[in-house]
Amino acid sequence: MKISKTMKIVNRLGLHARAAAQLVKTANLFTSEILIEKDEETVNAKSIMGILMLAAVCGSEITVNVDGDDAESAMQAVGELVENGFGED
């Protein structure tokens, strides 16, 4: 199953190390492939380097593309994390 959703980074520091680490941890809980797209760049959500390199600051929009058996729950988990600002602010 393939799902795609665009979301906004709301935490003040953006996808910095702590937030990126949380995202990778969450992504790794699922077997689905999770790709994150920003400004025509696509990285694997299971790669911390990739996520850091997106330089997704607060207010930027990312598109999450999930493909796999547990796509729905993966999308939900990632979505919640991003929406809640990684529990930061």
């Binding site: 910095h16 190390a17 790669s47 380097m49 390199m53 330089a55 600051v57």
Partner: protein
């Protein structure tokens, strides 16, 4: 090494970036970590599996080492920062790093060391080109992980901080966050590195640990041999080699003062800021982000005297919507309850420029469309913000503050507008604090001159000294040609402050101060004498100001006011004030700053 000791003249000063405050006096310890030299070597296809296997083995070893570091941390202050090691563990596991390196070994037939180095360099280049300073500093994380793998590949044993068994100041090219986590405070009393920045993970950890640190002192390892006496000051970033007896004594005293004061000041944390004769001042904090609340609370804050809302609007293409603002305000309100939170409506323009908000180029931005003028011009944005603030006021004590007013008409416009929004909320059945106090920032000479008129229509005043001084003296303090004219103690400024405070007192409304003047202990007695009820400042300034307030009677403030109000130049006022403060508080103002 012996000759180096002789070569270095006494009192050689080196300057880097002070990244963790405090003074350390001791012997230098040069951490030898020659950077592993990597020789690129063409390998044969038969060698490929062997190289890949050693690479994987090095990854595994690095993983085990980092896990050990992580498990070894028991200090509560550091537990919060363990995500840094998690990040490093993830880098080790990162498919980009692993795949790219293996692919270089396989396709370009490079030896593992060279392949790894090439991959690390590639990532490093990407990071160093990032605009965001914080993310850019993450290149140091990649470097330190890369170095660790490389060492494990070459089998080099690196000198570790855990091997040190004497009290020393460590001089190193760089320290990784993992190194810093292993610092034993009893042995390592401070460290100096060639590279690094204030926001590197290593600096963040040093501050949490309370280890003095100087970073970015480019030539430290080249110039400082091991085993010589050094003094380092993490507050201003200096390192002194072979100190003379005089310097040694000087810094020993500074160190003792610093440590004593830190200890002593914290003992005031839970006590109220009340003078000996019972005048109560509420000491509050200026904050920008909810994450600053914990530091403010740890310094004993009694509320947020200024929440600068413009930072919610920065670094993003569109302004935050009502929900987002509501949640940001709510978090601060909930965490500060029962203390009040004063939220200032958007204050852009002048030196507070938010590039994302399209302000046309103005000839004279400080006098242009800024502060409340901007908000009254962008009613929709103000509407959203006021609704969010009002909603948050249902959950705890909140005050609204309008910036940059110049007249009563403008104030009435704000109040009318606010009332309209309150009506909207009432009609919609949305809760808010019906008695929410509304105040204004007094930061223009116009507002100071008509403070009596304004005072009868608001619930509180807050004096924004930075702008008030600039407008009063017609000085842009960012302009190097005139910055010397920026004088907080100019008699005109003092007169303006007196007018504002008198108007507040006559109308029985509290007066607060939230500019830089509020946090500088040199001015505390003046502000006390003027009768200011509330001082809001950077949280780190709270203990010192509180200590001064608790040691005097209000009459001491009045006496200072009497002394300085007849003087005609800022210079005279400063001299008089400094002498008075040194007499009263020899331990805080007694020594000339060095």
């Amino acid at each position: 090494m012996v000759s180096a000791k002789i070569d270095i003249p006494q009192d050689t000063f080196l300057v880097g970036i002070g990244s963790s405050p405090g003074i350390a006096i001791g012997e230098s310890f040069l951490l030898h970590r020659n950077r592993t030299t990597v020789v690129p070597r063409q390998i044969t296809p038969e060698e490929v599996p062997g190289e890949v296997a050693s690479f994987r083995r090095a990854l595994k070893m690095s993983q085990v080492q980092l896990r050990e570091v992580k498990d070894g941390v028991s200090d509560q202050r550091l537990v919060d920062h363990l995500y840094i090691i998690d990040t490093h563990l993830m880098i080790l596991d990162d498919e980009m790093l692993v795949k790219d390196t293996i692919s270089l070994i396989e396709k370009e037939l490079l030896n593992a060391e060279a392949a790894l180095q090439k991959t690390v360099r590639k990532f490093r280049d990407v990071f160093s080109s990032l605009e965001d300073e914080y993310l850019r500093d993450r290149q140091s994380d990649i470097d330190s992980v890369g170095d660790r793998i490389l060492c494990n590949l070459t089998g080099e044993t690196r000198q570790s901080l855990t091997d040190i068994d004497q009290k020393v100041v460590v001089i190193a090219h760089d320290l990784s966050p993992a190194d810093t986590l292993q610092i034993d405070r009893k042995k390592i009393i401070g460290f100096v590195t060639d590279v690094g920045g204030r926001t590197s993970h290593t600096s963040i950890l040093a501050r949490s640990l309370g280890v003095p640190a100087v970073v970015g002192l480019e030539t430290a390892t080249a110039l400082v041999p091991g085993g010589i006496p050094v003094i380092m000051d993490g507050t201003n970033g200096t390192l002194i080699l072979n100190p003379s007896e005089m310097t040694f004594r000087e810094y020993l005293r500074k160190k003792q003062d610093y440590e004593y004061q830190e200890q002593e000041l914290l003992s005031y944390k839970e006590l109220p800021a009340i003078t000996r004769d019972g005048f109560r001042v509420s000491l509050q904090s200026n904050i920008e982000l909810p994450m600053e609340i914990s530091q403010a609370l740890s310094q004993g804050t009694e509320g947020v005297g200024l929440m600068r809302s413009e930072f919610l609007f920065m670094g993003r293409p569109t302004p935050p919507d009502e929900e987002e603002q509501y949640h940001a305000y709510l978090e601060v309100v909930e965490r500060m309850t029962p203390h009040p939170v004063t939220i200032r409506t958007l204050d852009v323009g002048g030196d507070k420029f938010v590039p994302e908000i399209n302000l046309n180029d103005e000839m004279n931005p400080a006098m242009g469309l800024r502060g409340i003028r901007f908000s009254l011009n962008e009613k929709q944005m103000l509407n959203v913000q006021l609704r969010a603030i009002l909603r948050a006021s249902a959950q705890g004590p909140v005050r609204i503050m309008f910036p940059m007013l110049t007249g009563v008409a403008e104030l009435r416009q704000c109040l009318e507008y606010l009332n309209a929004i309150k009506n909207e909320l009432r009609t919609a059945g949305i809760k808010f604090d019906e008695k929410i106090p509304v105040g204004i920032m007094i930061e223009t000479p116009a507002a100071a001159l008509i403070a009596d008129h304004l005072a009868s229509e608001v619930d509180f005043f807050s004096i924004g000294t930075n702008d008030l001084i600039q407008y009063c003296l017609a000085v842009d303090r960012a302009n190097e040609h005139v910055a010397y004219l920026y004088e907080p103690l100019h008699p005109a400024v003092l007169k303006a402050l007196a007018l504002i405070c008198q108007a507040a007192e006559k109308n029985n409304i509290p007066v607060s101060m939230c500019g830089e003047m509020a946090g500088d202990p040199l001015y505390t007695l003046i502000l006390l004498g003027l009768g200011i009820n509330e001082l809001s400042m950077n949280p780190s300034g709270l203990p010192r100001v509180k200590r001064i307030l608790r040691q005097v009677d209000r009459s001491a403030g009045q006496k200072v006011i009497d002394e300085i109000f007849g003087l005609t130049t800022a210079q005279e006022v400063i001299q008089c004030l400094e002498k008075r403060m040194a007499d009263l508080f020899p331990d805080l103002f007694g020594e000339p700053s060095f």
